[in-house]
Every structure is written in structure tokens, then in C-alpha cells.
């Protein structure tokens, strides 16, 4: 296969991941958010599989398979169940100003492009683009986490962030421990999901009501 086509496909998949990250930003229903996240994981798995193919690194297929089975299927289904059990499936989440969030997202993507492309003038162009996209996905995941109040959507933000890290790790040619790291992250996520389920954490505990805050912190007098 000729070099520019492999490059274009890798580029398209990584760019697609950034696009799906944007879609996460404006979902106001939990089910829709979970579905978009499943799509996010699917795109990641395709991207990792493509990297495994062009780098000739068969172990990366394991990471791709984890992304596909665990992140795109098992976790969204488990979260669907939790959302139903907790009775928050009808909730419409007031996402703080969709317009502003999208603008902030664009700012973050521009920032990561400027930072990464300037920092890596000599690196391999594919790795450069991948890193820039990965940083965008990481920052957009963080943005999802800070703009949401619900524990489930925060976890979705964290998982999107983590997908960005996996993208970065697979883009770094020949990086060791990628599979181990993706397994470690999957365990971490499983822990979080079990945590939500067992302890029925519905809300992030931060609240604008200072009285409630002081009570939580045991500092009310």
C-alpha cells in the first residue's frame, strides 16, 4: 500500500476521535452520552488496529480488542444498567452553556495543535499529528469532566480522556508496556464503575450551596 494512503487513514481515524469528543460535549441525556462514548471507543479501536497494522506491531491488536470489547460494549452496557437502576435515565443534564463549552473545546484543540506541532518539528509527521490529536482528546475529556455534575457523565469524561492516552501511546512507535497500560486502565475504570454501582454515587459532591459543602466536610459549627 502506498505511504500517503496509510498516513491519510491513520490521520482520519485520529481526527475522527477528536470529532466524536466534540459530540460528547453537547449531549444532554445520559443514554445519548453513553452511546456517543461507545462510538468513541469504536473509533479508538479502529485507530489502534490501523496503527498495529502499519507499525507491524501485533501486540497492539490486543489493545484494539480491549477497546472494542471492553470499552465499546461492556462498559457502556454496564453504565446503561446503572443509570436505569439509579433512576436517573430521565434526567436532563443542564450542560453549562453548550455554545461556550464548544468554544472552549475549540480553544483547547487549537492550543494542543499549536503546542504539539511547534514542539515536534523534527518528529515523524504521523507521530506528530497523532500526538496533537491525542492531546486534544485528553483536554476535551477533561472539559467533559469539569462541565458535568453527574458522576456517570464524569466517568464518561474520564474514559474519553483515557482513550486519548491510548491514542498517544500507540502513536509513539515501539513504545513498550502499551498493552499493560491499557489493561491497567481498564481495571481502574472497572473499579470506578463498580464504585458508582455499589455506593450509588449520583452526583458529584461539589455543590454551589456552601452550607451543604461545610456539612459534608464536617466543618459546620
Amino acid at each position: 500500500m502506498n505511504g500517503s494512503l496509510t498516513f491519510d487513514i491513520a490521520h482520519m481515524l485520529a481526527g475522527g476521535l477528536v470529532l466524536v469528543s466534540f459530540m460528547l460535549l453537547y449531549q444532554d441525556r445520559l443514554y445519548a452520552l453513553l452511546n456517543v462514548y461507545a462510538l468513541h471507543a469504536l473509533v479508538l479501536s479502529l485507530s489502534v488496529a490501523w496503527q498495529a497494522h502499519i507499525q507491524g506491531a501485533p501486540h497492539l491488536y490486543v489493545t484494539a480488542a480491549i477497546a472494542l470489547v471492553f470499552k465499546a460494549i461492556v462498559i457502556p452496557m454496564a453504565l446503561h444498567r446503572i443509570v436505569r437502576r439509579l433512576g436517573i435515565h430521565r434526567d436532563i443534564e443542564a450542560v453549562v452553556g453548550v455554545g461556550r463549552t464548544m468554544l472552549a473545546g475549540m480553544g483547547l484543540v487549537a492550543l494542543s495543535m499549536v503546542v504539539m506541532l511547534r514542539a515536534t518539528p523534527e518528529a515523524d509527521p504521523l507521530a506528530r499529528a497523532d500526538l496533537a490529536f491525542a492531546l486534544s482528546v485528553v483536554l476535551l475529556g477533561l472539559l467533559v469532566m469539569v462541565t458535568r455534575r453527574n458522576a456517570v457523565s464524569q466517568v464518561v469524561g474520564f474514559m474519553a480522556l483515557e482513550n486519548g492516552l491510548v491514542l498517544a501511546a500507540t502513536g509513539a512507535r515501539g513504545m513498550p508496556l502499551v498493552v499493560e497500560i491499557s489493561v491497567a486502565f481498564s481495571i481502574l475504570i472497572a473499579f470506578i464503575v463498580i464504585g458508582i454501582f455499589l455506593f450509588r454515587i449520583r452526583e458529584r459532591f461539589d455543590t454551589v450551596d456552601i452550607g451543604a459543602l461545610d456539612q459534608f466536610r464536617g466543618e459546620r459549627r
Binding site: L131, F158, R173, L177, I192, F216, E219
Partner: protein, 484 residues
């Protein structure tokens, strides 16, 4: 040099793992608490034997050098004394029904896994392995913080979990960037490009722009674990709501382990001449943490939260010291780190018993402690005097060294530093005198406490304030030189 039948750096890892497996299987808290103490003691002995045995050459996963020995010995020592304290503390918790026997099994197993994770992070020679180890140590402390299952404890654990995960994610991105900076042409693909000793040897040829970016991510990521402002939000909750032995271990050890990782990357950056100087970044974050925490101390009404903020303050001082760099400031930073670990854990040992006997953590409800419980009260007061940085205790010495070295290089920064120190001193003084003196309140029942760990730590801090043995000074000077 003595030849031992086992390699000590392996023993500090194997002992906790085996102990965790045994503790998870055994019922009965008296026995398991003793095994926990014994295992921690064995780990401490293994760590001490690192001084006398011959060092193996750096492997691709583990290595020992003059820097991490200091951390390992401190880590295992506080781990051991905290296990002694934990044995008496836990008995009371079981008695009052706050914890069940099943909880305790879990607690002891997790305690050893946490020690394993921290020791692994300290001996790791691979930046990927280091990251995994810090993650492991964090996860175990998260479940321990939430062990009481109260609303507040779960909130604290959740907050710690989410913030810790974000920190760890940023740190991983930084780690990947370091790998990229050590591009294949320089070190070669695969495992070698993540081995710290190889990275440092060849750091001069790395891509400086990528390395700079990597350090920013690493400082933010691991800085969350160190508890630097503005990434500190998890720390007070985790300290206040978890069992007190865990508060002691968090303040005394986990923060140091994260700091150690930051220092490793600082050395890496220093070895690359074209990269930015990491110092100013660390100085800024350190100073911000110090001043922020110093003011926050005044508003605290919960005794464990008070000392949690004091940990943020002291980690700020230590990061400031290492950021200033140079032999004297690094020496002060190392000394301060050791003194802070010993003092802060001693304070938490006292606070744990105080909160148990008085049945509350609210400062307003604890009065006249030196009258109702003289030994505990005076021990606590000595710890508070030490942490406030008054002479003749060890922390005064390290703060004095730091202030004087800063005055000679950057007088303006020294003024800010002294200001922060004085503000914090005032807050600690105000709160602790109220606790120690005044009209006694609350229960006067005798407390079943083991005072040995607390007084052992305080004695070490006092001795260090009066006289530092020359071999120790020589060792610290050598390590301070390594840190650049």
C-alpha cells in the same frame, strides 16, 4: 560489604506481597495486626540492609542509588511505626464497632499492598513501571480512605479517586512524551527508551521542546499526588475521613513518593542542557501551595483537616527548596522532607488517639488536653511545636537552612517564604494551644495507646534539631549534589 542470601531491593518488594496474601487469608485482628507489624519490620530491616550490602548494577526494571535509598528507608521506617500505631488504633475501632473483622482483613492486606506499591515506585528504574506503581499505591489508599463507608468517607474517596485519576492520566501523557523525546534514533525503540538510568545518560541529545512539554505534564500529574495547590482538593478530605493510620501514611509517605518521581524527572531535565530549567516552575508551585495553605489553616475546625492543610504547606516548602536547587537548598529540602514525614506522622498518631478518646474531630470540642491526658497532650504539643518550625526541633533547622540559602540567592523570594512560614506558625499556634490548654472538655477516660511510635519519631526530630551525625550530613550533601 556483606553478602546476604537475598537481594534487599527484591526483599522490600517480596515481603509486603507475601504478607498481603497471608493477611488476606487469616482471620482474627490480634494475630493479623501482629503479622502486619512483623512484615513491616522485616521490610524495614531489608531496607536498612541496603546500606551494607553491595549494590547490584542497575537492571532494566529495578535499581538502587544514593537518592532512592533515603526514600526507601524513610518509607519503610514510617510504614513500620504506623503499623505499630495501627495495631492499637484498630483495636479501638473494632471495639466501638466502626470497623468489622472483615473490614480489618481487607485493611491489613491493603496496607501491605500499599507499602509494596510505594516501594516499587521508589526502586523502579523504568518510567512506565514507576507510573504503574504510583497508580497502585493510589488505588489502595483510595479504598482505605473509604473504608468507614460513611457518606463523608465515600465522598472523600470518590473525590480522591477522580482527582487522582486525572493526575495519573496527565502523568502518563508526560511519560509518553518522554519516550517520544528519547526518540528511537537516540536510545532505540522498546524497553531501553523507558529505562531511567539510560535516559539520563543520553538526555543531552533529546528533543528539548518535547522534554519541556513532558515535564509540564509530569509536574501537574504527579503534583496532584504531592498535593500542590491548586491540585490539592482531594488531600484534606482524604486525610480527614479515612482511618488515622492512613492519614499518617498519606502525609508521611505517599506525598514523598510522588515528590520522588518528580525529582527523578527533574534530574532528567537538568541533564538536557537545552531544556527549560525546571526550577522556576517548582518554586512557583511550591510557594503558591505554602502561602495558600498557610491562610487556609486559620479556617479549619477539624483537627485532622488542620494537619492535612499543614501537609500541603510543608510539601510546598519542600518543592520550593528543590526548585531553588543548589547544594544548600537541596540539603534543606531533603532534611525538611525527612523531618516533616517523622513529625507529621507522630502528630497523626497523637491525633488518632485524641479523636478516639474524645469521640470527635472538631477542634472546638477538644480542650485542656494536657490536663485530661497529660502524656498524649504534651506529646501532641511537642509535635505541634515541631511542625510550626520552632527551635530546637528538626524542622526549624531545615527551614532556617532554606531561608538563609534563599536570602543569599533570591532575597525577594525569601521574604515571601518567611511570610508564609510565619502565617502558618500563627495558625498552628492558635489552634493547638486551644486544644492543649484551657478548661478541660470531653471524656477523661484513660486511653489505651501505644505511645512508642509517637515518641520515637519526636525523639528523632529533637535529636536532628540539636545534632546531625556527620555521616548523615555527608550522605545528604552527596544526594543534594546529585539533585543539581
Amino acid at each position: 560489604m556483606i553478602a546476604l542470601p537475598f537481594a534487599p531491593q527484591t526483599a522490600v518488594l517480596v515481603v509486603p506481597v507475601v504478607a498481603a496474601a497471608v493477611l488476606a487469608a487469616l482471620p482474627g485482628y490480634r494475630l493479623t495486626a501482629r503479622i502486619n507489624v512483623l512484615a513491616s519490620l522485616l521490610t524495614l530491616l531489608a531496607a536498612l540492609s541496603l546500606f551494607v550490602t553491595e549494590r547490584p548494577p542497575a537492571g532494566s526494571y529495578l535499581f538502587i542509588d544514593d537518592l532512592n535509598i533515603v526514600f526507601i528507608v524513610l518509607n519503610t521506617f514510617v510504614g513500620f511505626t504506623a503499623s505499630v500505631f495501627s495495631a492499637s488504633y484498630i483495636g479501638h475501632e473494632l471495639h466501638t464497632g466502626r470497623l468489622t473483622a472483615a473490614n480489618l482483613r481487607f485493611y491489613h492486606a491493603m496496607y501491605q499492598i500499599m507499602l509494596f506499591g510505594m516501594n516499587l515506585a521508589l526502586v523502579a528504574n523504568n518510567i512506565g513501571l514507576m507510573w504503574v506503581a504510583v497508580e497502585l499505591a493510589t488505588l489502595t489508599t483510595v479504598v482505605m480512605v473509604g473504608i468507614y463507608r460513611t457518606h463523608e468517607a465515600l465522598e472523600a474517596a470518590w473525590k480522591y479517586f477522580i482527582l487522582g485519576s486525572v493526575g495519573i492520566a496527565l502523568a502518563l501523557f508526560g511519560t509518553i512524551l518522554v519516550y517520544m523525546a528519547a526518540q528511537p534514533e537516540v536510545v532505540g525503540e522498546g524497553y531501553d527508551a523507558m529505562v531511567w538510568t539510560l535516559l539520563v545518560e543520553r538526555a543531552a541529545t533529546f528533543d528539548p521542546a518535547l522534554l519541556n512539554l513532558a515535564f509540564v505534564f509530569l509536574l501537574l500529574g504527579y503534583g496532584t499526588k504531592v498535593g500542590l495547590a491548586p491540585l490539592h482538593a482531594w488531600l484534606p478530605d482524604a486525610h480527614a475521613e479515612g482511618p488515622t493510620p492512613i492519614s499518617a501514611v498519606l502525609s508521611g509517605l505517599l506525598l514523598n513518593v510522588a515528590l520522588y518521581v518528580v525529582l527523578r524527572f527533574k534530574i532528567l531535565l537538568a541533564a538536557s542542557p537545552e531544556a527549560i530549567a525546571p526550577g522556576p516552575l517548582m518554586v512557583t508551585m511550591g510557594l503558591a501551595s505554602l502561602i495558600f495553605a498557610a491562610f487556609m489553616l486559620y479556617r479549619r475546625r477539624d483537627i485532622k483537616r488542620l494537619f492535612a492543610y499543614s501537609s500541603i504547606e510543608h510539601m510546598g516548602i519542600i518543592v520550593f527548596a528543590f526548585g531553588m536547587g543548589g547544594p544548600l537548598a537541596n540539603f534543606a529540602g531533603l532534611l525538611h522532607m525527612v523531618m516533616h514525614s517523622l513529625t507529621k506522622s507522630a502528630i497523626f498518631y497523637a491525633v488518632g488517639h485524641i479523636a478516639q478518646v474524645k469521640g470527635t474531630q472538631a477542634i472546638a470540642d477538644i480542650r485542656g488536653l494536657t490536663e485530661t491526658h497529660p502524656v498524649l497532650g504534651w506529646g501532641f504539643l511537642v509535635g505541634a511545636v515541631a511542625i510550626a518550625g520552632l527551635p530546637p526541633l528538626g524542622i526549624f533547622m531545615s527551614e532556617f537552612l532554606l531561608v538563609s540559602s534563599t536570602f543569599s540567592t533570591e532575597p525577594l523570594l525569601a521574604v515571601a517564604l518567611v511570610f508564609g512560614l510565619l502565617v502558618a506558625l500563627g495558625a498552628i499556634f492558635l489552634r493547638t494551644t486551644a486544644i492543649a490548654f484551657g478548661e478541660p472538655t470531653g471524656s477523661t477516660a484513660p486511653v489505651e495507646a501505644s505511645y512508642v511510635p509517637m515518641f520515637a519519631h519526636l525523639a528523632l526530630v529533637l535529636v536532628a534539631g540539636l545534632y546531625l551525625p556527620p555521616p548523615l550530613v555527608g550522605w545528604f550533601q552527596h544526594v543534594a549534589g546529585l539533585l543539581g
